[in-house]
Amino acid sequence: MVKSTEKKKPAEQVKSFFEKFYLFIILAILYAPILLLVIYSFSNSSNFNFDQGFNFKAYVAIFTSDKSPELWTAIGNTLLIASVSSVIATVMGTFASIGIFNLGKRARRLVENVNQFPIINSEIVMAVSLMVFFVTFAFPEGYLRLIIAHIAFCTPYVVLSVLPKLESMDPNIYEAALDLGANPFKALTKVMIPIISPGIVSGFVMAFVMSMDDFIITQINKGAATGINTLSTYIYSDARVQGLEPFWYAIFSIILVVVLAALLTINLVKIQKQKQKDREAKVQ
């Protein structure tokens, strides 16, 4: 209705140009360091020059540098800790959500608030509080501490992504399964869990990503004596002292490409699904 009168005046055009320009500048600044990193990963230099020309030496160094063994151990640790803790977090979080959903009103609110705490709490406080706990009760240093710590900050996200699915589930479906003769266990595994599985999957992915991405909690709980490093703590200990060696540029570029590709696919699939839903809704 307004559109017919919306012939753009020159002033409006200028304004819209500046708006787009502003969006672009901020985006450019956000991505500049990332892009430069990727470009100079092919230069085998650590101070942004192409003196050696375009080459893949930095990528080869990931496998041949004298730091490679440590680097690969760190990558292995990252994946190990992330897999173990995200699987445990997902299983515990899923069952916890079903349980929480069936708690009384007051108990449920209490548990949900405590569950919220690792999310709102500042990471450093969570890290040191766990460290004090582990020291006080003499937990063995190393993987056990790290995995417990990772489960502790990952599970809340699983609960937060499963609970809404339970809330939106039709309770009659579960009852129907029982009425049709399924025992509670079957009704749970064959009916309820498949229905809430999208929440479980996104909770798992989130837990895995959070665990892989973590630096502060790992750094403070890994214990100096164990020598255990994940990728992020190894980056920190290596780069803090002598800056970034060329092979780090290569690794960062690989991580960037993997992360961005994964996120773009997830979001594109989401948008596609949304569009399809909208279309279906329109048809109806």
């Binding site: 901020i26 430069l36 079903i98 349980g99 706990f133």
Partner: protein
């Protein structure tokens, strides 16, 4: 009969939450209680109030806290000034919902990688590492946390309010100041807390971007525990916790209906 089995089932399903409740108790609640207890203990585990004297009596620790608050306020203000227009412009564009993802994506790349990349660039450009670079690094890191809630709130504003204001004769500035801005307060508040709290408690970013010259509250919490000063470290953690709780209280108050926005990216 059915009623009884129903009740029994509810009971059994409740049990599923018990392992996690135990876990939360052990690894979330008790560690925080330990922090509270440690604030009142000296190194020989005797009750004492010395830790409070050591923290609140020492200018150096208060200066670090003051600096962190300052860096936090400046970073938050910069993020708001830079991020609000971005979110506002995006909320007017039809494809803004997709474009905003581009602003949020860098957040998923480990902050150490981004910080080290900016540091390497600053060094290569010959920029001296100091307060300026720390602030840049903070804004760079936390800007997405400001844009996200702002965009959600701004794009959720009913356009008819704006049209109504225009129909009633308000010029553009008035429309913005009297309708858009007040309606986006909840987004502004959640943006502020999502930037401010992490900024004052960041660990490592300021050290990396200032070559260890600028030391913030998160760094000094870590350092006290590393030096075995559990008492003082605990007090600093409690101070931090109080900030967290206050900000969360404010958020909940203003944000009751759009609570899901917070950190739910997926």
């Amino acid at each position: 009969m059915t009623k009884r089995t129903h009740k029994k089932l509810r009971l059994t399903k409740k049990v599923f939450s018990f392992p996690y409740i135990l876990f939360l108790l052990l690894f979330v609640v008790i560690p925080l209680v330990l922090i509270l207890v440690n604030a009142f203990l000296d190194s020989e585990n005797n009750l004492t109030l010395d830790n409070f004297k050591m923290f609140f009596g020492a200018p150096s620790s208060l200066i670090v806290l003051g600096n962190s608050l300052l860096v936090g306020v400046i970073t938050t203000a910069l993020c708001l000034i830079i991020g609000y227009p971005v979110a506002y412009i995006l909320s007017k564009i039809s494809s803004g919902k997709i474009i905003v993802l581009l602003y949020v994506l860098p957040m998923f790349i480990n902050f150490l990688i981004r910080t080290l990349a900016t540091k390497a660039i600053f060094i290569a450009m010959g920029v001296e590492l100091g307060m300026g670079t720390v602030l840049f690094g903070m804004v760079y890191n936390y800007l997405p946390f400001m844009i996200m809630p702002l965009h959600t709130t701004l794009s959720g504003i009913d356009k008819s309010y704006i049209e109504a204001a225009q129909d009633l004769g308000a010029d553009k500035a008035t429309v913005f100041l009297k309708t858009v801005l007040p309606l986006s307060v909840s987004g502004i508040l959640s943006g502020i807390t999502m930037v401010f709290i992490p900024t004052i408690s960041t660990y490592a970013i300021s050290q990396l971007l200032s070559n260890g010259k600028i030391f913030l509250f998160g760094d000094s919490i870590q350092l006290s525990f590393e030096q075995g000063l559990y008492g003082v470290g605990s007090i600093m953690s409690i101070v931090m916790l109080i900030f967290v709780l206050i900000s969360n209280f404010i958020m909940n108050k203003f944000n009751r209906n759009s609570n899901a926005v917070r950190r739910s990216l997926w």
